[in-house]
């Protein structure tokens, strides 16, 4: 390359205008000097800290680099809500419990818990010798402080509800009506935390692994003031890793915390979290070895599906169609709703449109959510959604239209402004038109506006997604109670409400589960109140040397504590 350039330059020299070599240097020199000036001015501060990348191979350090995919918005556990911040926090913070690779809670900061016979009072005992990264012990007061801080109306924590829904006195305090003394979170001494719940909730122990339930040290938080959690050194850690570098737009560096109680079982010593938003770039970086993990979709799923680097799972999220019974009287006919359920090809939807690891929905509560005994809920209930059957769907639809007076109205499908959402809308439109003979037009709105229209009941047909707050069918099923603010389609069945209410009060957890199984049967199989479409999935490129990769199916995701690096 170099020699060729030089030759071209030389060839230029003679000729009519004869620019000499010296003149060329003059012209070029100005540019070079400018670049050099910028270079020296810039290097000192604007280039991101030279994060080691995959480096450290010489010392035998086990390091992985993951793609966080988006900016890190907030590392204060009492206010944060986004999945990127929570991925980071999950690795540098520890709650009372932590989710194991199969989403079951195992003691982390807690040694164990005693649960009263009415299943309402939880008494946690902390482990001996657990410490913050500044050397202070982790105490029961740290949990009490952080939880109350999250509930404080002044904090305006968006996830306060994840505490207030379950803990006695918390809803009132959070609403600004009650007093902080009435919140049933009490540190009895440095090692003992007592919490009283409003109703028996077998899944609640798993929630103590959720980030809003992390501890914070009062003296430290107050000392840092506005600076708290803004930098890597304005936060203290009690998790398997320590944050050594943190830039909200460039990423994080996390190194193993040797003082963590289970450090002996933490295999990977260094985790780099980078931020690459562009899919093509992230795949290029993966292939060049600069990333060891990144999420993919679309064409790349098709390309890598059979590669050893491909990894996918569904998480606890369902996307489902909601007919608005109040807006379109025809939807009050159960045959029409059943026609909706069997009138679109879920396999085609996930394999041709989504291509992101999602699976066709066989019911409303997604795969993997706990059910009776060792079974998952889905295994126990079996499919409640009918198979795709266009002929039967058309028959049911025509029958329903006839029963309702023979009019087949124009129906507006509410969609939102996102390329995948547009594809889904087009797919549903053509399926329902071709298979059922419905008249569908699509209304695309910004996502925010879509939520608003749904909340106000100003839609005819839409689809919605719901991500589990906790590992229990109730996080999905209570949405369909008559009074639920998320029941946007106007579905109301006293039998269903009754089953949900009973389940919420039930202290016999086996019976409770049975009530919820019955409820899903009523909701999906009998009433066809909704047409579940798919269980949302995620597909990753993952270095095959990373074993035991855990990306939790609810709450925060990437949990490097469990990962193993081979070779």
């Amino acid at each position: 390359m170099k020699t060729r350039k030089a030759r071209l330059g030389m060839g230029e020299t003679p000729g009519a205008t004869r620019i000499t070599r010296k003149d060329f240097l003059k012209i070029g020199g100005t540019g070079l000097a400018g670049a050099a000036l910028l270079g020296t001015a810039g290097c000192g501060n604007i280039f991101g800290g030279e994060q080691g990348g995959n480096g450290g191979g010489g010392g035998g350090t086990k390091a992985v680099t993951v793609n966080l995919g988006d900016t890190i918005r907030d590392l204060d556990s009492t206010t944060t809500t986004d999945s990127v911040s929570s991925d980071v926090l999950l690795n540098v913070m520890s709650g009372l419990y932590r989710l194991d690779p199969s989403q079951q809670p195992v003691p982390d900061m807690a040694e164990g818990v005693e649960i009263s016979s009415d299943k309402l009072t939880y008494t946690f005992t902390l482990k001996d010798g657990v410490t913050w990264s500044n050397g202070d012990p982790v105490t029961a007061q740290d949990f009490e402080y952080a939880w109350l801080r999250a509930l404080d109306p002044e904090t305006a924590g968006q996830y306060a509800y994840i505490l207030s829904t379950f803990i006695e006195g918390a809803t009132e305090f959070n609403a600004g009506d009650g007093s902080v003394e009435d919140v049933a979170i009490n540190a009895r001494d440095d090692k003992t935390l007592e919490v009283k719940l409003v109703s028996p909730s077998p899944f609640w122990l798993g929630l103590t692994a959720f980030y809003t339930y992390y501890p914070q040290k009062q003296s430290y938080v107050e000392e840092q003031g506005d600076q708290y959690a803004q930098n890597a050194n304005s936060l203290i850690y009690n998790g398997p890793y320590l944050l050594t570098e943190f830039d909200p737009t460039q990423g994080v560096t996390m190194v193993k915390n040797d003082d963590y109680w289970d450090a002996a079982n933490t295999d990977i010593q260094r985790v780099e979290g980078r931020i690459v938003k562009e899919l093509e770039t992230s795949v290029n970086l993966y292939e060049s070895g600069e990333l060891d993990e990144t999420e993919i979709d679309g064409q790349y799923v098709a390309e890598f599906r059979d590669s050893p680097d491909f990894w996918s799972q569904t998480y606890f999220a369902t996307f489902y169609m909601v007919p608005n019974l109040e807006a379109i009287p025809l939807f009050q006919n159960v045959n029409v709703r059943k026609a909706l359920q069997m009138g679109f090809d879920r396999e085609a939807l996930v394999n041709q449109i989504l291509q992101n690891g999602s699976e066709p929905a066989s019911g409303y509560v997604p795969d993997g959510i706990d059910g009776p005994g060792d079974q998952t809920f889905r295994e126990a209930v079996g499919p409640t959604m009918p198979e795709y059957n266009p002929e039967e769907a058309r028959r049911l639809f025509e029958q329903g239209v006839e029963e309702e007076g023979g009019e087949n109205p124009q129906v507006e499908l509410l969609a939102y402004d996102d390329s995948t959402a547009r594809d889904i809308a087009t797919f549903l439109q053509s399926q329902l038109q071709d298979n059922l003979g419905m008249n569908i037009n699509v209304n695309v709105q910004p996502f925010d506006r879509k939520l608003e229209l749904e909340a106000n009941g100003e839609f005819q047909l839409s689809w919605q997604g719901w991500i589990a707050d906790y590992n229990d069918p109730m996080t999905f099923l209570d949405l369909w109670e008559t009074e639920s603010p998320f029941n946007t389609g106007g579905y109301s069945n006293p039998e269903y409400d009754d089953l949900i209410n009973q389940a919420q009060e039930e202290t016999d957890f086996a019976r409770r589960m049975q009530l919820m199984m019955d409820a899903e049967e009523v909701l999906v199989a009998d009433d066809a109140a909704t047409a579940p479409m798919y269980f949302e999935g995620e597909a990753h490129l993952l270095r095959p040397t990373i074993k035991n990769f855990v990306d939790h199916q609810y709450g925060a995701g990437l949990d490097a504590k469990w990962w193993r690096l081979e070779g």
Binding site: A35, C43, G157, Y161, N284, L285, P446, L451, P485
Partner: protein, 332 residues
């Protein structure tokens, strides 16, 4: 001269005031809120609005914001929990500026060489090559060019890093991607201006006097051909150093352009306003400098009585200035 500058500064402040006000109200008209979450309860929403002062009447919010801006405080981001907007802009703007200025310098050097060569070798295959490059550079969008550069130089040849912003080497591909547009713009301009100047009588005169080819090119042709370039280059530079969403996304460069677009999508009012204020201060100061420098270059502009004639007379003065300069050259 001082009165002239003072008057420009006053106009500048008025312009800024109008820009900030308009942006403030437009940003409030954006659909949605900064707290778009399908699980948000009305109660928490009310708490958040109170915390961020969004529950107050819009004129109160406006007054508070203007008072803060006057004191140099752009407020805190909604999206990045309580992070000061000023701090985020100051961290990210230099990154975009570095990549942009580097692109301008590189583009200028290469573009001028291409332009000069194709003008001097008019209708040769050099000329054709330069024209083809110029057309490609203007018409191939960066979201196509960026990934191609990334794939060829980063993945295949391994000459430069694929993405991120950790050393000077990381800035090469993003700057290159941006510079292609500069190269082609500059090359086209230089070429056509030079071709025009080369045909002027005073060039023939200069040659007739026995000046060497080089002296003619440097002293007479270049000097006159490059003046219009300055007018094109100023807005181009500003455009480039305020960042490019596409290039910053593709190369994972943490710059201000990406930040600005992102803030609009998530209704981060403070960030939308902060970046707008920052950009407009930047633009307005650049225009001020341009006006002042026109005044210095061409005294007729500031003496011409009013100020409204600035743009028009600046345009007119180019041709005149060229002739004058040419004459001056002839005398030596």
């Amino acid at each position: 001269m001082i009165r002239y500058v003072l008057r420009r500064v006053v106009y500048m402040l008025i312009t800024l005031f109008v820009i900030i006000s308009v942006t403030f109200f437009i940003s409030k008209l954006l659909p949605g809120t900064p707290f778009a979450d399908d699980k948000l309860t009305p109660q928490t929403r009310a708490q958040l609005f109170e915390k961020y002062g969004l529950d107050e009447p819009i004129y109160v919010q406006y007054a508070k914001y203007m008072i803060n801006v006057a004191q140099g405080d752009l407020g805190n981001s909604f999206y990045f929990e309580s992070r000061p907007v000023t701090q985020m802009i100051l961290e990210r703007a230099p990154v975009s500026a570095f990549v942009g200025i580097q692109a301008v310098i590189f583009g200028l050097v290469v573009g001028m060489v291409l332009g000069i060569v194709s003008a001097l070798r008019h209708n040769s295959w050099w000329d054709t090559l330069a024209v083809v490059i110029a057309v490609l550079g203007v018409s191939v969008p960066t979201f196509v060019l960026g990934p191609i550069l990334q794939y060829v130089f980063g993945v295949k040849l391994g000459l430069f890093p694929i993405a991120f912003f950790e050393s000077w080497w990381h800035s090469v591909l993003p700057s290159l991607a941006l510079s292609v547009f500069v190269i082609s713009t500059v090359a086209r301009f230089v070429r056509s201006e030079m071709l025009e100047v080369l045909g002027q009588d005073y060039i023939t005169l200069a040659k007739a006097k026995g000046l060497t080819g080089l002296a003619v090119i440097i002293r007479h042709v270049m000097r006159n051909a490059l003046i219009p370039l300055v007018t094109v280059l100023a807005p181009l530079t500003i455009y480039l150093i305020t960042g490019s969403l596409v290039v910053e996304q593709i190369f994972a460069v943490p710059g201000i352009g990406e930040q600005f677009v992102q803030s609009i999508f998530v209704n981060d009012y403070a960030m939308i306003l902060g970046t707008s204020v920052f950009f407009s201060v930047f633009f307005v100061i650049a225009l001020l400098l341009q006006d002042i420098s026109y005044g210095i270059i061409d005294p007729r502009i500031r003496i011409a009585g009013g100020s409204a004639t600035v743009a028009a007379s600046a345009g007119d003065s180019r041709g005149d200035g060229g002739d004058g300069d040419g004459g001056g050259g002839g005398q030596t």
